[in-house]
């Protein structure tokens, strides 16, 4: 290593920053798990606009604000009338279209931006395996969506827990209602994230990616509509499989029952006895989308 030239230091006036030469690094080098964790956290922060321009924070936090406001309103109304206006799962359902727009902005931000700027060779020339890159991004989006739905559910829970008139037993019952709600929010998050990220990873243009994500979820809804008015009961009951959103609702109806439908409310979607089919379809959809995402990243930028 070169030593700083002593003559140069003497001849230069004070107040000058001396070039101390290049320093080798002999500190710790973290392993794959830490690098994955760093990329994952970076992804979660990116979805909410942290570490980015103020403009990039507007949309994510607008959505966060709306869902939180709705949750606060629901909690407030409930504390007044003493009756829940919506269950946790119903809340997740009714917020799903907002989550969709959140995905349409966040997924391109996570993957399309890297495709566009050509930064991927800089990642893949480092020890991190390609699959880790894709999975860290996916996990980050799942986490962000789950926080987006689960956070307000927690607000609703706190509102209910503090206003319950049954003491600890009331809090406990409320918690038992909350947990399936959080799981259902998780299902929304996994399905939206895996499909949304796959679509976004196909293009480097953020506008196209956002449009593609919205299209996949919204354009499939009319198919569900058509199938559900066909004169065949089986077709009607399987109609929900045609769109990711109704697929999630189908799984919810099957697993949560009246926690989602409410008393005597038969909702829009009837799945008959096909609940397990919906569950299986959801698993296949998520696994398939993830496999395709990994396949995409085996090829891209090599």
């Amino acid at each position: 290593m070169p030593e700083p030239s002593t003559t140069a230091m003497r001849s230069t006036p004070t107040g000058v920053i001396h070039d101390i030469g290049y320093q080798r690094y002999d500190g710790p080098r973290l392993g794959r798990r830490h690098v994955f964790g760093a990329l994952y956290l970076h992804g979660v922060r990116t979805t909410f606009g942290f570490g980015r321009s103020a403009k990039a924070k507007i949309f994510p936090w607008l959505v966060v604000g709306i869902v939180t406001l709705v949750a606060v309103a629901l909690a407030a109304v409930r504390s007044q009338i003493g009756e829940p206006v919506a269950t946790y799962a119903q809340f997740a359902d009714s917020m799903s279209w907002l989550v969709l727009f959140f995905v349409a902005v966040a997924a391109p931000e996570l993957v399309s931006r890297d495709l566009r700027s050509g930064v991927l060779p800089l990642y893949f020339s480092r020890p991190l395996p390609r699959s880790d890159y894709a999975l860290a991004k996916l996990l980050a989006l799942v986490t962000a969506l789950w926080l987006l739905l689960g956070g307000p559910q927690l607000v609703m829970f706190l509102g209910a827990a503090f206003t319950t008139k049954e003491g600890m037993r009331g809090v406990w019952n409320e918690l038992l209602d909350l947990l399936p709600g959080l799981l259902y929010a998780g299902l929304w998050a996994v399905v939206f994230a895996s499909v949304g990220l796959l679509v976004a990873s196909l293009t480097g243009k953020r506008a196209f990616a956002a449009g593609g994500v919205v299209a996949v979820f919204l354009m499939t809804t009319p198919i569900v509509g058509v199938l559900s008015i066909l004169p065949s009961r089986t077709a009607n009951e399987l109609a929900g499989l045609a769109s990711p959103s109704s697929l999630v609702q189908g799984v919810g109806i099957w697993s949560l029952g009246d926690l989602l439908l409410g008393e005597g409310d038969q909702g829009g979607l009837s799945i008959g006895g096909f609940g397990p089919v919906y569950a299986l379809a959801a698993v296949v959809l998520v696994a398939g989308a993830t496999a395709l995402l990994l396949a995409r990243y085996r090829k891209v930028a090599s």
Binding site: P2, Y25, G27, R29, S117, G118, P121, L122, P127, L128
Partner: protein, 304 residues
């Protein structure tokens, strides 16, 4: 220790396009120039060295590690600067280099410190907090170099680092690369299609053409043997040539010049003596360093 060694390395794409054909080289640490025309297989070689693509056949080892078997171990010790634009425009150089340092396994604080060090070494100071999108080409090239340096690699792979730079920018970049190779103690493989550029800074030169090895050797071995003296006299060129040939000096004609290989200092004396004896007006006598390009003069390399 051998820095990079390949044995009959071959890469074909789709069984038809041959990017590398039977390439066997072994180079020692230092600054290595990899020259070849566009499409000669330089980028393919770099990608194989990084373990990004697998060779069709043959063996390769980088820093004693086989990148086809353990790419992560190679990549942990290698820094790569790609040829093309690869910087997200909305991030600042400091943020980007810090993030990529973490992707190389540096802890958070170490990544931040090393990022600002690396950026300082490549000559980016206050501007490192501005978004990269507003940078000049020269500054972008420096950021690309800094991100390759951030994790303190033992070997840098630079793919056309002077691409898109003006002459002054090229000189600055080459000086920087030379400094990294000599002062920082990091070996560098510089890839370029401009032979004249890399021969100025490298110790070893690998020339490839059409995926085949043209020559790989120390630059000193390529140049010292071919130093020549150029003699020009205003008249009597023929007589001088005959006299020098009589003195057992292998003379070559190059227009009005006589070229005499420089064996040692006595060659000067012989020539001056011959000129004096014939009483010719000596126009000039100077030592000419053979450009390495002349070694490949028959190839299009020298004009590339």
């Amino acid at each position: 220790m051998t820095l990079i060694a390949t044995q009959s390395l071959t890469k074909t794409y789709g069984g038809r396009v041959t990017a590398l054909a039977d390439l066997t080289v072994a180079v020692e640490p230092g600054i290595i120039g990899l020259v070849g025309a566009n499409g000669a297989g330089k980028s393919t070689l770099i990608k194989i060295l990084l373990g990004l693509i697998a060779p069709t056949s043959g063996q390769v080892s980088v820093l004693g590690i086989d990148p086809t078997a353990d790419p992560a171990a190679v990549r942990a010790r290698v820094g790569y600067m790609p040829e093309h634009d690869c910087l997200p425009p909305d991030l600042s150089a400091a943020e980007l280099v810090t993030h990529l340092g973490r992707m190389s396994g540096l802890p958070r604080t170490a990544a931040r410190e090393r990022a600002s060090e690396a950026l300082r070494h490549v000559g980016l100071y206050e501007e490192r907090y501005r978004p990269v999108g507003g940078y000049s080409t020269g500054m972008k090239q420096r950021v690309k170099l800094a991100q390759a340096l951030v994790h303190d690699p033992d070997l840098l792979l630079l793919d056309e680092p002077t691409n898109g730079l003006d002459p002054a920018g090229r000189d600055a970049m080459l000086a920087l690369v030379h400094r990294i190779g000599t002062e920082f103690g990091i070996s560098v493989l510089v890839c370029s299609h401009l032979l004249g550029e890399v021969e100025r800074i490298c110790d070893t030169l690998i020339a490839i053409d059409g995926g085949r090895l043209l020559r790989a050797d120390h630059i000193s071995a390529m140049t010292t043997a071919t130093d020549v003296l150029a003699v020009e006299v205003s008249e009597g060129t023929e007589e001088l040539a005959a006299r020098l040939a009589a003195l057992d000096l292998p003379v070559a004609r190059d227009g009005r010049l006589l070229l005499v290989p420089l064996a040692d200092d006595s060659t000067y004396d012989l020539i001056l003596g011959a000129v004096a004896e014939l009483d010719l007006p000596l126009h000039r006598l100077d030592q000419r360093r053979h450009r390495v390009a002349e070694l490949f003069a028959t190839r299009e390399l020298s004009h590339a």
